[in-house]
């Protein structure tokens, strides 16, 4: 499991936060918001974006495993064969990816 430097920084930042935050009024929490919380979100946004760019865009090879793509009962919408958040690029149907590759 590879962890990018940016994600490591984010984790250290949040580990530190659990020791440094203290009670003390609206001003304290306002400072924590703009110095710790929102930058932490920004770092994680950058990290997630960079990691997504590094992905290969290939469709994985399809293997018709019997323990996956269960269709004991049809979905109550459409043709009953597509899940609610079906994505034809990443979600194969029980007999394979729809249409031609990409």
């Amino acid at each position: 499991m590879s962890v990018s430097p940016a994600a490591l920084v984010a984790r250290r930042v949040f580990a530190a936060a659990s020791h440094s935050s203290h009670e003390g009024g609206a001003r304290t929490w306002k400072i924590l918001t703009f110095v710790l919380a929102l930058p932490g979100v920004g770092v994680c946004m950058a990290n997630a974006y960079m990691k997504m760019q590094a992905h290969s865009h290939e469709q994985p090879e399809f293997v018709p495993f019997p323990h996956l793509r269960i269709r004991t009962k049809k979905f109550p919408w459409g043709d009953g064969n597509h899940s609610l958040f079906h994505n034809s690029h990443t979600n194969p149907l029980p007999d394979g990816f729809e249409g031609s590759h990409h």
Partner: protein, 261 residues
């Protein structure tokens, strides 16, 4: 004019508990009708009745508390107990789904390939969007605390800003999760992995939406001067609920996203 010789709230007769119960009946039976007979009418009727019940019941509570003064300290204490007990019941609700997840993942059956994640499942990278989601919810916990202190110190503008920021972070989380749901290489129909993943994270997402709505109502009320620096229990209840949602996510992240990958 009659006066009560006690500090408690004897609530006036109300139709909303009954309409709520009828809505629950129509939604559940409507769900069964949809699954077996492909008609959404009953379920739709139930949902409409539920929305009307929620709007009118909670509107009445705001009238009774904020405008008619019925929420004395002992009454407020009862409301606090009520919210704590409700959140406790929700903890047990999620405990069930965590039980299901650990039951299936600690001893994966031969049908799955004897491993977890099961053969053929590509789990989501916990250090991409799921980590961002964790940061978003933790940040929203900071902003809602800023909001609480602002209300207590009478800082009206800061309270509005921090509460709005909290709600925006909540919406951002929901948006990111919806994107993850669409991009995931596995679906709810992918065996017990798909079931445990989407039911646990799905109910969590529903609670994020509910919590965001609760906070949004608080924002409207704050703008309309309903809260005082001493008395703002509606906001406190929303903040407790929001922290609960955050904690559930942390458990989901550690168990399903991280350990489960």
């Amino acid at each position: 004019m009659a006066h009560q010789a006690h500090a408690y709230h004897m609530v006036d007769p109300s139709p909303w508990p009954l309409t709520g119960a009828v809505a629950a009946l129509l939604m559940t039976s409507g769900l069964a009708i949809w699954f077996h007979f492909h008609s959404t009418t009953l379920m739709g009727l139930g949902m409409a009745l539920l929305l009307l019940t929620m709007y009118q019941w909670w509107r009445d509570i705001i009238r009774e508390g904020t405008f008619q003064g019925h929420h004395t300290p002992p009454v407020q204490k009862g409301l606090r107990y009520g919210m704590i007990l409700f959140i406790t019941s929700e903890v047990f609700f999620f405990l069930g789904f965590f039980w299901a997840f650990y039951h299936s993942s600690l001893a994966p059956t031969p049908e799955l390939g004897g491993c977890w994640p099961p053969t053929g499942i590509t789990p989501l990278d916990p250090f991409e969007v799921p980590l961002l989601n964790t940061a978003v919810l933790l940040a929203s916990g900071v902003t809602v605390t800023w909001a609480h202190h602002s209300i207590m110190e009478g800082e009206r503008k800061q309270a509005i800003q921090s509460l709005a920021l909290t709600i925006l972070l909540g919406f951002y989380f929901t948006f990111l999760q919806a994107l993850e749901y669409y991009e995931a290489p596995f679906t709810i129909a992918d065996g017990v992995y798909g079931s445990t993943f989407f039911v646990a994270t799905g109910f969590h997402g529903l609670h994020v939406i509910i919590g965001s709505m609760f906070l949004a109502i608080c924002l409207l009320r704050q703008i309309q001067y309903h809260f005082t620096s001493e008395h703002h229990f509606g906001f406190e209840a929303a903040a407790w609920y929001w922290h609960f949602v955050d904690v559930v996510w942390l458990f989901l992240y550690i168990s399903i996203y991280w350990w489960g990958s």
